[in-house]
């Protein structure tokens, strides 16, 4: 680790964590407070702990709270997935979206919904996993041919696969006209209407994923120093990469299964976090999770204002913020962290 400026480094670390927790609190409360039905701030706080039988309490507890929680969980999942991907590919542009993981998962979910309309969400998740694996594999293969994966190659391969898979999705949607409205909104990615059932679905996969990520985090840090160095230090690169890939598929897959393909969180957050606290993945992963949760929840609050009081997909807001960020990263030359 960096031995110079350790004090400054520590300060930055604690500052970042505190900032993250503060923002988390603010966006969480905001998520509970904003909605068509106006509710006082005091009622919001009260409803978190008790149920006084009022409409306000019901709304908070059954509609807004699960939505906020889903936002936190999925934001964290996507950010962790992104940070893992950036670590194993040594490429700051890597993210579930760029890697076609989102698009692949979406395609399989759409196929699942169209072929088996009565499928339970718990089973739909496996479609998402399959699709995520498929999308990621194709992009990885395409980006690695011709000697090494440069950031630019990755971006090109990723966008190509994303567009191709999106066209397949749109084709399926077009030919199943009844499902059109059902799917279009979902394809932009949104967490409106998520309930406690979705939280139940997410929790086991997320916990398993986060746990595994933390176990892997030390290896990921060593891996980011370069393949040769890592091998020299006794790391089993193949195993680490394989386990990480499975992890990404699970985290991104379950997010897409619940909320559709939400983009740019996995891209932005790890880069921002690494620029603040360095590349120790034992820290990057949990702090990315923290800020990922903040970003998604905050974006969700903002998305409610686009066409208030009607719902808008949160994917719009993340894209609005994320696309310029992506351009900035790509222009920087894609220097690996």
């Amino acid at each position: 680790m960096v031995t110079k400026n350790t004090t400054i480094h520590k300060f930055k670390l604690w500052f970042t964590i505190t900032l993250g927790v503060l923002l988390l609190f603010i966006s969480f409360i905001a998520s509970l407070s904003v909605g068509a039905y106006s509710i006082d701030f005091s009622q919001v706080l009260a409803a978190l702990f008790t149920n006084d039988g009022s409409k306000a309490a019901s709304i908070i507890q059954t509609i807004r709270l699960p939505r906020a929680v889903v936002g936190l969980i999925i934001g964290a999942c996507l950010a962790i997935a992104g940070s893992i991907m950036q670590s194993i590919t040594n490429n700051p542009l890597a993210s579930p979206q760029i890697f076609g993981v989102n698009a692949g998962a979406s395609l399989m979910v759409v196929i699942g919904v169209v072929l088996f309309p009565d499928l339970a969400p718990n089973t739909l998740v496996y479609f998402a996993f399959l699709g995520a694996a498929f999308g990621g594999a194709v992009v990885y293969y395409m980006a690695s041919t011709g000697g090494g994966m440069t950031p630019v190659k990755l971006a090109l391969a990723g966008i190509t696969v994303h567009l191709f898979l999106s066209s397949l999705i749109e084709g399926i949607v077009l030919f199943n006209e009844t499902s059109t409205e059902d799917v279009l909104f979902w394809l932009a990615g949104g967490i409106d209407g998520r309930n406690w059932g979705d939280v139940q679905l997410l929790l086991p996969w997320t916990l398993a994923g986060v746990l595994t990520a933390m176990i892997l985090s030390k290896s990921l840090t060593i891996l980011s120093l370069g393949d040769d160095l890592a091998k020299g230090l006794g790391q089993n690169i193949g195993l680490i990469r394989g386990a990480s890939a499975v992890l990404v598929i699970i985290l991104a897959g379950v997010s897409v299964a619940v909320a559709g393909p939400i983009g740019f969180i996995g891209l932005m957050i790890p880069n921002i976090v690494r620029s603040l606290i360095g590349s120790d993945y034992r820290l990057v992963i949990p702090i990315s999770a923290l800020f990922g949760a903040v970003l998604l929840t905050g974006a969700d609050v903002i998305s409610r204002y686009i066409a208030f009081p009607a719902e808008s997909p949160v994917g719009i807001v993340t894209a609005l913020i994320g696309a310029p960020f992506f351009l900035y990263l790509a222009r920087k030359g894609g220097r690996s962290s």
């Binding site: 068509a36 509609i63 309309p117 409205e181 909104f185």
Partner: protein, 327 residues
């Protein structure tokens, strides 16, 4: 030498291109010439009858139509309704490849027809194979293919998808004018207005309950506000819509908003087996909504209530609504 060759090649290409386009132009011109010759002939032949060339104003400009079109292609359901009211069977309908979408009262009125595909993407080939003499298309869906449609037959573009009840009446009048059946059209319209008056009288003066028509699907609850076709129709007989604002006519709303609007009567058009309402039913907030509490949630046919926007269907919608509310 090399440059001369290149210049020559470019020149040859340009000449070929110009030849090609002017040939096409000549072809089209000669087609149009024969076309207008034909109509002139028809005019001079059948001048004894009530044939004339009418100029119909529509959303994309003006179209000339002569005589009484016999082979009409309708690219939206509201136009099918309009034609059926006039007693005309269209030769082709964009029925989304599903004959079941044509509601019963209209199925009985019209006979066999040929499907020209989906309303979103009608097949131009099938349309032209039917050799129509009039095409009626929707402003929102088909304005981009207006030119291509016009090459097949005289085409008029009217608002259908984005029209409210008043707009549908206007479209009906234009359709009857285009068909050269203005008299019959006026008759039918008068009958319709009478029927609407009768239906309106069945709604008590002091009816102040709010209604909410909505399409309910797996992905969400799409409410039709007071400017939508169904909403404006119900409003026209005194049934106030629960949503009195909003830029879009069809908004996806969540449970919180339904609680906020608290409609007294809900008309749900089902899209799919499983819908969000099935999830909401387990939430006490939903059960507290006025319409649910009072057992005034009615499932209605989406084809009738939303897809077919015309005189016949609007009468049926109101008959249905009144029987749900007052019988």
């Amino acid at each position: 030498m090399k440059w001369t060759v290149r210049l020559l090649t470019i020149a040859v290409i340009l000449v070929l291109a110009a030849c090609g386009s002017s040939e096409e132009g000549q072809e089209i011109e000669s087609d149009e010439a024969t076309g207008s010759n034909n109509s002139e002939e028809t005019q001079s032949e059948e001048n004894s009858g009530s044939e004339e060339t009418r100029v119909i104003q529509h959303e994309m400009g003006e179209t000339e139509i002569s005589g009484q079109p016999e082979n009409v292609v309708a690219l939206e359901f509201s136009f099918v309704d309009n034609l059926a009211s006039l007693g005309v069977t269209p030769i082709g309908i964009a029925d989304d490849n599903d004959k079941e979408r044509i509601i019963e009262p209209i199925q009985e009125k019209i006979g066999e027809y040929t499907s020209v595909g989906t309303r979103k993407q009608p097949s131009l080939e099938v349309i032209s194979s039917l050799q129509p003499d009039l095409i009626i298309a929707d402003m929102k869906r088909h304005k981009d293919i207006y030119d291509q449609l016009s090459e097949i037959a005289p085409t008029i573009i009217l608002p259908s998808l984005a029209a409210d009840y008043e707009g549908i009446i206007d479209s009906f009048e234009t359709v009857s004018k285009a068909m050269g059946m203005e008299e019959k059209g006026a008759e039918v319209l008068a009958e319709h207005k009478d029927k609407m008056e009768t239906l309106r009288s069945q709604v008590p003066e002091d009816e102040d309950r709010t209604v909410l028509p909505a399409v309910v699907a797996d992905s969400g609850y799409y409410a039709h506000n007071m400017e939508s076709y169904t909403g404006s129709l119900l409003e026209s007989i005194g049934l106030k819509n629960a949503i009195q604002s909003g830029d879009d006519r069809y908004n996806k709303i969540n449970l919180e908003q339904v609680v906020e609007f608290n409609p007294d009567v809900m008309f749900h058009m089902l899209s799919g087996e499983q819908t969000v309402v099935d999830e909401w039913k387990e939430n006490e907030l939903y059960q507290d909504v006025s319409a649910v509490k009072n057992g005034e949630v009615h499932q209605v046919d989406r084809n009738m209530w939303s897809r077919f926007r015309g005189l016949i269907s609007s009468e049926k919608i109101l008959e249905d609504a009144i029987s749900y509310l007052y019988e």
